[in-house]
């Protein structure tokens, strides 16, 4: 019997990037292996659901759960891993707040199927065949799992103990979390975000801020920003101000805006609401003495038109966990 605490890493609806973030621990992978016994990780090893079911409840010390809840199967696994784990941790943006797959919540299930199997440019599908959960073929019946109407976060399905944000979490932060557990230091209060900072990406960004206002916003293809000044103050919608730190601000380092993958900073319930407030304070509406409320509204609308997809910009990684939620059916 191994005395090492048991670790499991499960993926639901995800891209595999969270697993690659673990592989990108490089030589520290060996340290991880010394300290934990990996008991379940469909990506790396062969333990089956039945074997996990047979494990005593709460026998897995830590489960890092990545991927969104897209199918019934994902949800079933969420319940199973909750039961078997002492600590259930969302690992990455998808299980935390829905991630990129939750952009799907701005569209219906019907629209997805119509596009993919009915309309796409390279389709040859005159009979309008569409995948079904059960198909009779000459030799028998074939089954497929059903596709949910909406993507859900892990915490919308089961109780979650800790949240590791990031798309994917940066490897040095993954290591910080694992090292914290190994060290035996007291863990933060249940429900905390771990593997990240408590402030915003701006705190880690090397660009200089002058707290000035901007007359308009630019889309990233329209301008090549200068290397030193705050991107937001150059009129680029950089989500850094509404995003938790911990990543090291790598995107602004290569002149690209933060797109918000670490979710809202500590104490902020909704990333988009925070961003809207931040944009409100940086927008320069010009001289508004003597303008009518209608004129002021028109000015604001013209400025906001330079951010054409507000939902997809503010909630790129968080549509499932946001107060916005998604498209009303």
């Amino acid at each position: 019997m191994s005395l090492r605490p048991k670790l499991s890493v499960y993926w639901a609806s995800s891209c595999g990037g969270c697993e690659i973030a673990i592989v990108n621990l490089h030589e520290k992978l060996l340290n991880l292996d010394e300290r934990f016994e990996l008991v379940f990780c469909p990506c790396l090893m062969d333990t089956k659901k039945a074997e996990v079911e047979a494990m005593p409840d709460a026998s897995v010390a830590v489960t890092l759960f990545n991927g969104a809840i897209r199918t019934e199967e994902n949800e079933e696994m969420a319940h199973l891993m909750r039961r078997k784990s002492k600590l259930l941790v969302t690992y990455g943006a998808c299980s935390f707040q829905g991630g990129i797959p939750a952009l799907s919540n701005f569209h219906s299930r019907h629209d997805h199927f119509r596009t993919m199997y009915g309309e796409n440019a390279s389709l040859a599908n005159p009979a309008q065949v569409s995948p079904r959960t059960r198909t009779e073929v000459p030799e028998g019946a074939l089954e497929l799992p059903a596709f949910y109407e909406r993507v859900k976060t892990l915490a919308q399905c089961v109780k979650v103990d800790y949240f590791i944000p990031g798309c994917p979490p940066e490897p040095h932060q993954v290591w910080n979390v694992m090292e914290g557990i190994i060290s035996g230091r007291p863990l933060p209060p249940l429900g905390s975000v771990i593997g990240a900072g408590t402030s915003s990406v701006c705190d880690e960004c090397e660009r200089t801020r002058a707290t000035k206002v901007v007359p308009r916003f630019y889309r990233t293809y329209e301008v090549a920003p200068g290397p030193d000044k705050c991107l937001l103050e150059q009129g680029i919608v950089c989500m850094g101000i509404a995003t938790r730190d911990g990543c090291g601000a790598p995107c602004p380092k290569v002149n690209m805006p933060c797109t918000g993958c670490y979710g809202p900073p500590e104490g902020v319930r909704d990333q988009g609401a925070k961003m809207v407030a931040a944009l409100g304070s940086i927008l320069d509406l010009g001289e508004y003495k003597g303008t009518t409320p209608e004129e002021l509204t028109a000015k604001v609308e013209a400025l906001l038109a330079s951010i054409p997809d507000q939902a997809g910009t503010y909630y790129k990684y968080g549509a499932a966990g946001s107060i916005l939620g998604g498209k009303t059916q």
């Binding site: 990037g17 990129i100 596009t115 040859a124 293809y221």
Partner: protein, 495 residues
Amino acid sequence: MRRITINPITRLEGHGKIEIFLDEHGNVANTYFQVPELRGFEQFCVGRPAEDMPVITNRICGVCPEAHHMASVKALDQLFGVEPTPAAKKIRELFYMAFFVTDHITHFYALGGPDFILGPDAPPGARNLLGVVRKVGIEVGKQVIDCRARNHHVIQMLGGRGIHPVAGVPGGWSKVVSAAERAEIETIASQNVEFALFTLKIFDQIVLGNPAYLDLVMSDVYHHRTYSMGTVDEQNRLNFFEGRIRVVDPEGREFLKYEAADYARHIAERVEPWTYLKFPYLKKIGWKGFVDGPQSGVYTATPLSRLNAADRLATPLAQEQFERFYQTMGAKTIAGRHQPVHHRLATHWARLIELLYAAERMQELAGDPEITSPEIRNIPQGIVGTGVGSVEAPRGTLTHHYVSDDRAILTKVNLVVGTTNNHAAISMSIRKAAEKFVHGFNVVEEGLLNRVEMAFRLYDPCFSCATHALPGAMPLIVSVRNHEGKTLKSFRRDG
């Protein structure tokens, strides 16, 4: 009728599933390869600003985000009607070669290679990276980790992040390469060339030097005479990054050569109700079912098909290996070019020749003084509204097709990803392996499982793109059930 269900990752974790139906004599009646996953990028990208696509489509696959990033950026060049600067094109390709090196290395040592280095009949528990390290030495294992680490360092340096990069923009690249960075990358590229040559030597010793392995490569279990697809430059040399898409017929004659933008004139996708993944085929020939030969529209897009579609390789050391490959495989020359190799297990060898090409090409680009030019971006001056971007992803030709309105908000998105090209061919290889190993209800357990798994691995299928399982990490469970679905027998093979 009895059926055998092979569920690579068990039913509830399922990302790929095989159903084998047996006839009344207990022989294979039919097989179905199902992909039970769907995330829906083609729909949920509609309504998004076009310039967000390189960052959004990264998330199709965490194993090969660089390929999606690059296909996406190239689609945006067209959609915004902007030509990247010469330096930006070189930086993009340099970044892409670093990615190709790390991806092909990972496949050879951790995923596909164990089948060969340890042999298909080695105990399954030993057929993994650790088994490889035991056979070739711990020093080599350390070198594999080092190789992945140094190339991910380059990916992060140039792309901003080690996973899901951000630096691609329409008209160029967002990050200038400094002189010090260039020098560091040049050193890394030289190490990559050395390691690629070393890896080819290992392949020589262990596979080519062993008659039993060579027989397996040459056997008919994995032999399919299909069309071969790959991207070539104006001299018909393989190019991962840009060029025209060439398709050669099973005899090696050029059948098609087209610009990526014309893909929908040449490729069509079939939908089956029992799988979420579509089946692309050559439109001009048509869909004739899961069969090979010149009358079937089934094609492959793999390292092997890319070598088959090219006349030669553009770098000297890789070209030497290319010639040796076709000579060793006994390919004849017709009309001035080699005939294609159709033995699918030779894909592993082809992948290593590509690895050497990527390393040499990385070295050339890193040595190019223009790579440090500050001229990295042209700003678009308008919106064309449609764009098709294509690259060779490690697992096959990757195509992104976007249509937008006049504000560059997307209205249509179509994606044909690397592994999807090979969906029909993978199904055929699975069927052939099943037919070979299932006779008269006698399921050759270990043989079936090993050989079916090898049929998967040689394609290096990235179901992250199609579903999201990592390639090669595919434990298998087989159940033999009666016609009522009752399990009569169940056995497993650990990965």
